[in-house]
Symmetry: C2
Subunit: 369 residues, 2 copies
């Protein structure tokens, strides 16, 4: 799950003064977020989310000079570095083909740790339940969490429950927080990306977002589509084994889709990302629904895909390793980094043209995770 | 904040088989929670909450043999032990005399770590916001969090934001998760409590719960009462300095009040706890409101009080140390442990009688934290 408020803690004192790391700025920081109220788009993971984070949360909570956005923060505890990530899940409907909120919550947290270069060690969970929720629904989601945690080899070690009045939580909201231990010899930093680096993608995009949309029954489309929710840790592990020194950046492209993840990266590294549209794996059902709705599969959320940027010398080995992972057969090299156009993502179409693809703007598919 | 789902991870292999620690039980565990739907009482921190945790969450998520409930789990990361705790906050109204949801969320998490014997190192936060929330309200709560974190000397290192439709989150819900490093030479275990041990309390009880009740304006009472929300870490630190070897157990008595915390302890240690009612510090406003509503101040939530059980030889030094902490002037020795009645909390009244005081049953004051 792409956390929209997540900021990396500075890794060394030279990057940021100690004061800003430990305390909020001594004088009230200036907030530049000018929207007068919160809209659905602020939770969609795209441009509006980023504005909210950079214009309101970051100045108040992190001081004026935050690091690039990442999926998990690093904290020193004792002599060790601990990765920590947190996400709330508000998906509607609670269950859908291929998964449910409980499974999503575990996998999303495992994935945020994984793409930050950490192995999930433990998860804590809170439930906000609405009065009147059938126990059977709760039990089913708790079982889904237990099963997903078992598959991902992570322990659930504690949690909390709150109950609100009927109608005030859309059945249930779930928040999961995970801590993990860093994978040795792996450094993930968007600023380490160089011209010529390759972009790898684990498989078909958009399945999760479109599955949720169809599960709501608002569209008269029948499709055999399932959410791709799963742990992407096996991809991280496999790629790390064969290409650790060449790995620059990893991400699970959730809210806002592949386009938003790559735009964030382009902005952070300053380079141009050239994506070959014909290399993008997209299921026909997703393509069809997107055409009908005027959406781009690159903007649709995934819950089990893995994006990696690797140095050119490591691309072949990394891709081969991804192919060996269950669910990784369709992994592809989808693009590369060039000097120009700076801080921009370009898609080369199958007809020889190119188009700029921006972050997600607005929120065409709310409440998908 | 007393987390109702929180379970301690077993500290050694001898306490529980490895399987139960790492994976859900291999066969579907028997769930004994028989209520057909979730009610407000399941979130109140009392008997119904405990039934939900022990009958549904624990068997599915932790296996069949959980450890005593604590406020934070311990997880091994690298060579270090990390304390972790999580809580959701759904308080209504969002702000009230003496505090607001943002301040509550930071202090509650710092306090859960503190009473588990850990120093808060970092906090992550998620917001579930409803569409239409005025930005000024959000900004005010983020500022409150930053200020509380600054006062408690803890960093906020990341987070996440989700937005749900108007009406589906009662303005906002906040979830905070904290990690901390264990305070050396401190062991908190209800099973270490012995006959003769003393119960210490930091100050007046019930202020928070009654403040919230009055802030709702449903009662025609005027009172100069403020929530006691604050970090209790200074109490933990002070007591640890002078009495570490004699500290058996600590708790911040939030939902369910002092009575629920002590009943959980009585159950876990098997002894009788004798409380002297006349030693309990209670503000007149709280006493008055409780009399009017037929409630016991011992059942009302606190957000800045500290309960400790210490060996008799250390009680005087611990109490003296508590008196030195700002807000600790009214700290008292309120009771002691006896053999009988087993697993029960008895209150000796000021008229010479005694009465059994149970955990909170039902939920007279919902949505207080």
């Amino acid at each position: 799950m792409r956390g929209v408020l997540q900021l990396r803690t500075p890794q060394s004192d030279s990057e940021q003064p100690e004061l800003a790391r430990v305390e909020p700025a001594p004088t009230a920081p200036k907030v530049r977020f000018r929207d007068s109220q919160i809209e659905m788009a602020h939770g969609a993971g795209g441009k509006a989310s980023r504005r909210l984070v950079e214009g309101l949360f970051a100045p108040l909570l992190f001081g004026s000079n935050p690091e690039p956005l990442t999926d998990a923060a690093r904290v020193a505890v004792g002599s060790d570095s601990v990765a920590i990530t947190t996400d709330s899940f508000v998906v509607s409907p609670l269950s859908f083909p291929g998964g449910s909120i409980g499974e999503l919550a575990i996998n999303g947290t495992v994935n945020d740790l994984a793409v930050s270069g950490a192995t999930a060690e433990a998860i804590v969970v809170t439930f906000i339940l609405e009065a009147g929720l059938p126990t059977s629904v709760l039990e089913s989601e708790v079982r889904a969490m237990a099963d997903a945690a078992c598959r991902a080899n992570v322990k659930v070690v504690g949690g909390d429950t709150k109950v609100v009045e009927h109608g005030k939580a859309d059945l249930m909201y779930v928040t999961t927080t995970g801590i993990g231990s860093p994978i040795p010899n792996l450094t993930i930093d968007p600023r380490s990306v160089r011209v010529g680096d390759k972009v790898l993608l684990s498989g078909p995009i958009g399945d999760h977002g479109i599955t949720i949309l169809l599960a709501r029954g608002e569209l008269d489309i029948e499709a055999q589509l399932r959410s791709d929710t799963r742990s992407v840790f096996p991809f991280v592990e496999a790629v790390s084994k064969v290409a650790a020194p060449g790995i620059r950046w990893m991400r699970d492209p959730t809210r806002g889709g592949v386009a938003t993840s790559l735009n964030e990266l382009a902005r952070d590294c300053g380079l141009g990302i050239h994506i070959a549209e014909e290399e993008l794996p997209v299921h026909d059902e997703v393509r069809g629904a997107c055409e009908l709705l005027g959406l781009d599969p690159l903007h649709i959320a995934n819950e089990g895909q893995f994006l990696a940027v690797v140095a050119p010398d490591y691309a072949e080995a990394a891709l081969a390793a991804m192919h060996e992972i269950p669910g990784g057969k369709e992994a592809r090299l989808i693009g590369e980094f060039r000097e120009q156009p700076s801080a921009t993502v370009l898609v080369g179409t199958r007809y020889g043209g190119t188009r700029v693809i921006d972050m997600l703007v607005g929120d065409p598919l709310p409440r998908i995770c």
